[in-house]
């Protein structure tokens, strides 16, 4: 019984040593670095959202421009028609 207990203690100790050896060799990011990463991530996401909004506004402006151009064409045609009708009224 005593022998078994000793074996357990030894095995556990060995495994803890192995674990400490592994974890001790790996470098981890500290709190400050993680905070900086989060800030960069938030800034990038905000910038991407602003870019999407801007592109949406571009699409809206392009639509408005197309409408305005059409309105200009229409008013030019109207001008021709009105001039013709006025000439007909006078003759």
């Amino acid at each position: 019984m005593r022998k078994a207990l000793r074996t357990v203690v030894v095995v556990t100790a060995v495994m803890l040593m192995v674990l400490l050896a592994f974890t001790g060799c790996t470098k981890y990011a500290n709190e400050q670095q993680l905070q900086a990463l989060e800030e960069t991530k938030a800034a990038a996401q905000a910038a991407e959202k602003a870019l999407a909004d801007c592109k949406s506004e571009t699409a809206s402006l392009e639509g408005q421009l197309a409408e305005k151009k059409q309105a200009l064409e229409d008013v030019k045609k109207e001008q021709q028609a009105v001039n013709q009708r006025l000439a007909d009224m006078e003759s």
Partner: protein, 281 residues
Amino acid sequence: MTNKLVLTIVLSLVLVLGASLSFAQEKMTMEEYEKQLAEWQTRLDAADKGKADCGTANEALQGEIDAVQAETDKVWGEILESLGTDQDGVDAFRKELQAMDAKADGLLALSAEELFQRRDEVEALCADLAAAKGNKISALTEMQNLIAVIEGKLAQIKNKLPKATYEPYTVVVGDYLWKISGKDEIYADPTQWMKIYSVNTDQIKDPDLIYPDWVLKILKGGTFPDQYIVAKGDYLQKIAENPEVLGDPASWTKIYEKNKDIIGNDPNMIFPHTVLVIPKE
């Protein structure tokens, strides 16, 4: 004994491995951190550049929109100048046409008889529309369309109006009602003399006595809404029963009372071609 030993070792291993994994999951390795930081930084830079380019493009687009709008305003200003008016004048003219359109709708909803009674309004509307067509503002396409709509409604109103008219005829020496009725330009049928007599009772007291230079009314184009021309086989009850007259045979007395001067004392004796005036209910 050996089994207990093995079980104990396995349990110890599980505990140690679990603790190890838990520790590893909570922490971010430097390698992962640097990779993620670089990735987010790249995305941030790309978005910032895109935003700048997009802003410039939008400013250019807004400038183009403003320029096109200014050009449109200029052309519209030229149109108004050629019409000799301003935007307020155009708006007022549009309102005028819309009021005419509403008036036409109101008239169109009337029955033929009501329309006949309000034919002065129809004529006034025609005159107003003719005047509007003479206004330079009517040269605008929008106004042309509105005018076309009103003209269409007026055409329907005129179609609905009774076509009957009175044409004048001046009596000459040697004329008598039978002879006048037989003339081609009158009815080309002497038996219709009652038609002439019954619409001229204000002048003719005796159908055998008419005088030269009298101007008689000759009913043409059917009847007016308040008139009925007696046909062969008609009697007052039958006429009163007609749904287009009174729709009630018992109301024949109303017709008789209204036309007593033409019918005479015997309501059972009415002659074909007599023009009766139908009383309003």
